[in-house]
Amino acid sequence: MIKNRKLELITLVAVIGFILVFLSVSAGGTHEFAGSDNVGSQKIAELTGQPVDSFAPLIPQWQPPSGEIEACLFALQAAFGGVILGLVFGYWLGQRKSTSTP
């Protein structure tokens, strides 16, 4: 069986390249690595001349009380996706195996 792993290799190279770029950017100068959402919000404040705090939610909304809780919820979101992904690919793989060897 000939294994062709070209696409896996390309993806690996892209990910490693991405990490190298990150390392070189974070090594030089001070970067906060704040979310671009927040950077965007600051830009709005700059353009309108109003401080960021003056923008109150139009519809009241629940805020995660801390960064830890936010991280937990984000992890939960990703985990949910991961579970579905594993489930479906596992199901397909099992289906293939059982139809090919009756």
């Binding site: 979310g35 479906v88 397909w92």
Partner: protein
């Protein structure tokens, strides 16, 4: 790419909600029709949706010294079209608005137009353009995913520029400013996202080529050609 709650004037919130609504309605109708007709596509829908969930939860650092997240909408757009993708995107955005305070209910319309509708439309246009050419299907997937990702951020920049034109230079100056924040940050992420989704697509056509053919995502010859070049797992030979 979220516009934060409260940062968009209410007039614009309404405008973007009105733009988004027809897509959501069409999406629900298409989804219901698909559920009634053929439930065999549900696992594939699950995979596409799962990727939007995973990728939009990953906030990655980028060249500009800020963090942003990929969108993952390209795969679903190719397999199921813009309308169904807009529903999945809307679910993710609703989750993030309600429990993570990323985005919010009033700006949900604007965020849906950028991530769940605008990005997928651009991706779909590219897909239709490349579909019947001799371009390798993995390259097509790569470009579609990357374009859907980047365009999402371009539209966010546009939405903000329209709402907040700069005092000097107007909408264009303001668009450039937001574009630098959002879209430049996004370029490396879009490249990685494109690679990852192309890889996932490879596994899908290894395991379920007939599903991709029946959905008419790509033709049988294109799939056969792509499979010939890749390794085939035992028991995954294509059934005729």
């Amino acid at each position: 790419m979220h516009i934060m709650e409260g940062f968009l004037p209410w007039q614009w919130c309404i405008v973007w909600w009105l733009v988004a609504l027809p897509f959501l309605i069409m999406g629900i109708l298409e989804l219901r029709a698909m559920m009634k007709k053929d439930r065999e596509y549900l696992p594939l829908l699950g995979v596409c949706g799962a990727f939007i969930f995973i990728l939009s939860a990953l906030k990655l650092p980028s060249v500009t010294g800020s963090c942003s997240h990929p969108t993952g909408t390209g795969l679903s757009t190719m397999c199921f079209g813009v309308f169904i993708t807009s529903i999945i995107g809307a679910i993710v955005l609703l989750f993030q608005a309600l429990v993570l305070a990323h985005g919010g209910l009033s700006v949900l319309g604007a965020n849906m137009v950028s991530m769940a509708i605008g990005g997928p439309i651009a991706g779909y246009a590219i897909y239709r353009l490349l579909k019947n050419t001799s371009v390798n299907i993995y390259i097509t997937v790569f470009i579609v995913a990357a374009v859907a990702d980047i365009v999402t951020y371009i539209i966010t920049s546009l939405e903000l520029a329209l709402a907040f034109p700069a005092q000097t230079g107007g909408i264009i100056a303001s668009f450039t400013a937001f574009f630098v924040i959002f879209a430049i940050t996004q370029i490396p992420l879009a490249i990685v996202e494109g690679c990852v989704l192309a890889l996932v697509f490879k596994y899908v056509i290894e395991l379920k080529p007939e599903m991709i053919i029946r959905l008419k995502v790509f033709s049988e010859e294109q799939i056969a050609k792509a499979r010939m070049n890749s390794d085939s797992l035992p028991g995954t030979e294509m059934k005729s």
